[in-house]
């Protein structure tokens, strides 16, 4: 019996590592396949060759590779695919962390109003036609969205901290309040925007259309650093689910860990939203699905969610740009396709628990 329990535990550890590896492979393969799909179809190995040769040779097109194909892959499709990967990974990571921190499976990256802040920043940029100087022109909307997210974050934390301590319920409530005010402000701007309302509405729905390398490089450092930090504190997050007091007794510096994780996952959310617009569902549902797959241990849940989120969003974006002649907003698609799927999973799980 003793041996069996230890072996079973080791077996479970192995299984979870296997899921992690499998997802990495799936994501790499998926990205190659998704990149190959489009108006001009190329086989996945051709994509791999183009990417590999572009890393080894600098600038010049090597022999045997079509210059136009190379441009389509490297300048148009790849940055878009990578943007979707980053945003999917970032939102799912932030979702898993928020759910763990707020001890609420209903929490998602948007619970604290960060997305509304970003939307407000982006709306301002579009409404007033702001164009940042100094070569940042193309990044005006993402940068203002990021700034808006940071301001919303500051306002939410400022509201939630009372006498130097922060209660989780206060945090959620402040998020709701700030979010409501900013939503009203966005609606106000939309009502004044007249003809320009289309671009605002389209941004709010979330999309990866015409996202380039500058978007990728804006998001990449924040998402990667965020993922590393969240994984580093994942074990503390497990202990925190016993409650702050018990966590402190187990040697976890609870207020430090909570602050670091909240700020980190908020920044990750802000970076994601600022390049993609508001894409719902990924941050809420992916952590749930992954929890069913690997259990609630955040040391696995966080990286697995990141991979799952990336895979889901990059897949959804591929459908969004290929299914119809006109592009479907990916945020709409994730929820339209993912929602019913989740309902199905949810029913199965609910039935199993009852009987």
């Amino acid at each position: 019996m003793r041996r069996e329990i230890i072996l079973a535990h080791r077996e479970k550890e192995k299984q979870r590592l296997l899921v992690l590896l499998l997802l990495i492979l799936l994501l790499v393969a998926g990205c190659l396949i998704f990149t190959s799909l489009g108006v001009i179809k190329l086989p996945p190995w051709e994509i791999a060759r183009i990417i590999l040769t572009s890393i080894t040779s600098n600038g010049s097109t090597p022999a045997g590779i079509d210059e136009i194909h190379r441009a389509i892959i490297l300048d148009i499709r790849l940055p878009r695919i990578l943007a979707a990967v980053l945003v999917g990974a970032g939102l799912a990571t932030a979702g898993a962390v928020f759910q763990g921190l707020l001890m609420n499976p209903l929490a998602d990256p948007y619970t604290l109003g960060i997305s509304t802040g970003a939307a407000f920043g982006a709306t301002l940029a579009m409404f007033f036609g702001i164009f940042l100087p100094g070569g940042l022109g193309l990044l005006t909307v993402p940068l203002l969205a990021f700034a808006g997210a940071l301001l919303a974050l500051g306002a939410v934390y400022g509201l939630a901290v009372v006498n130097g301590t922060m209660a989780v319920t206060n945090l959620i409530l402040s998020g709701v309040i700030v979010s409501a005010i900013l939503s009203a402000a966005i609606s106000f701007l939309k009502s004044l925007a007249g003809e320009g309302v289309g671009s605002i509405v389209f941004w709010l729905m979330g999309s990866f259309a015409s996202r380039g390398w500058h978007h990728v490089f804006l998001c990449l450092p924040v998402v990667l650093a965020g993922l590393v930090i969240c994984c580093y504190y994942a074990d503390d997050l497990n202990i925190l689910s016993l409650g702050s007091k018990s966590a402190r007794q187990l040697g976890v510096d609870d207020s430090k860990v909570i602050t670091i994780l909240l700020v980190t996952s908020s920044l990750v959310t802000a970076a994601c939203v600022s390049i993609s617009g508001i894409i719902g569902f990924v941050g809420l549902i992916v952590p749930h699905l992954m929890r069913m797959l690997v259990g609630p241990d955040h040391r696995f849940l966080i990286p697995v969610s990141a991979l799952g989120g990336a895979l889901l969003l990059v897949g959804a974006d591929t459908i969004a740009r290929n299914l119809l002649a006109a592009e479907i907003p990916v945020g709409v698609l994730t929820t339209l396709l993912g929602g019913p799927f989740f309902c199905y999973i949810f029913r199965i799980k609910a039935k199993r628990q009852i009987f």
Binding site: M103, D235, L242, Q249, P296
Partner: protein
């Protein structure tokens, strides 16, 4: 023979806002003792335990452990030596029983450390002792209150503590689970010399298990001493304001309490 002093509190005061929760609490805890902290609701039992295990900082006064101030130890040292069993836990995520008990090993592992076979052995033994081995793979959110409480005790024991604090840990259990749990703790206390500091509501259980009693009333120590001396009608009437009769039981040799309410 008197055992060495393990912990001391010196003139502890703690305020929640302006409300005093502890006032001038000075105690010494000897190694290997089974201490009961008794008192009515709101008398400061939980607060005292939180301060003694380092979770709350007192407004003034000191807690000494092995003669050194508690604040001068790092979190890890404290977590490897003290464990607390709270009254109840709300765990919202479907961790398995094994995973929860394993969390007790956290202070002994590095941040990215993987539990060794030895850690797993300790976890196994703690689960066996607490009678939760049968549902090692079950999910904590699906357990009953009594089962969950035993898992939490197993988690605390997996810390292999020198001092075990019970914060009304048995209040939600039925009588047989209560006895089983306290017997288990008493065994650890007697055999392995674990010092136990338990806030208890049930005075009969306190009389049965504690060697030493600390009565709190409105944040002050109302009375303290060995059970044989301070477990008496006069003290209980003064602290709890109830009429009781206490007798030494002929068979067990332990003290039993009978309530004498005015039923007229």
């Amino acid at each position: 023979m008197e055992k060495a002093v393990l912990m001391q509190t010196e003139n502890l005061n703690l305020y929640y806002g302006k409300t005093p929760a502890l006032q001038a609490v000075s105690l010494s805890i000897r190694e290997g003792g089974f201490y009961g902290i008794l008192g009515p609701n709101g008398s400061g039992k939980t607060t005292l335990i939180s301060v003694m295990c380092g979770v709350l900082k007192p407004s003034s006064g000191r807690v000494l452990w092995n003669g050194r101030e508690l604040g001068s130890y790092n979190r890890g040292q404290i977590a490897r030596s003290f464990a607390v069993v709270p009254q109840d836990y709300a765990i919202n995520f479907p961790f398995t029983v094994l995973e929860v008990v394993m969390m007790g090993r956290k202070p002994h592992l590095g941040r990215l450390g993987r539990p060794s076979d030895e850690d797993l052995e300790i976890v196994y033994t703690c689960m066996e002792n607490c009678g939760v081995l049968d549902y090692a793979g079950k999910v904590i959110t699906n357990l009953s209150g009594g089962e969950r409480q035993r898992v939490i005790l197993a988690r605390a024991l997996a810390q292999t503590p020198q001092v075990l604090f019970l914060d009304e840990a048995t209040s939600n259990l039925d009588i047989s689970h209560k006895i089983e749990l306290l017997k288990l703790i008493k065994r650890l206390n007697a055999k392995q010399g674990v010092t136990v500091i338990a806030a208890l509501h049930d005075l009969n259980f306190a009389g049965m298990f504690c060697d030493y009693m600390i009565y709190l009333d409105k944040g002050r120590v109302a009375c303290e001493g060995p059970t044989a001396v301070v477990f008496n009608e006069e003290v209980i009437n003064r602290v709890f304001n109830v009429e009781v009769e206490i007798r030494k039981h002929a068979v067990t040799g332990r003290y039993n309490l009978a309530l004498l309410p005015d039923l007229r």
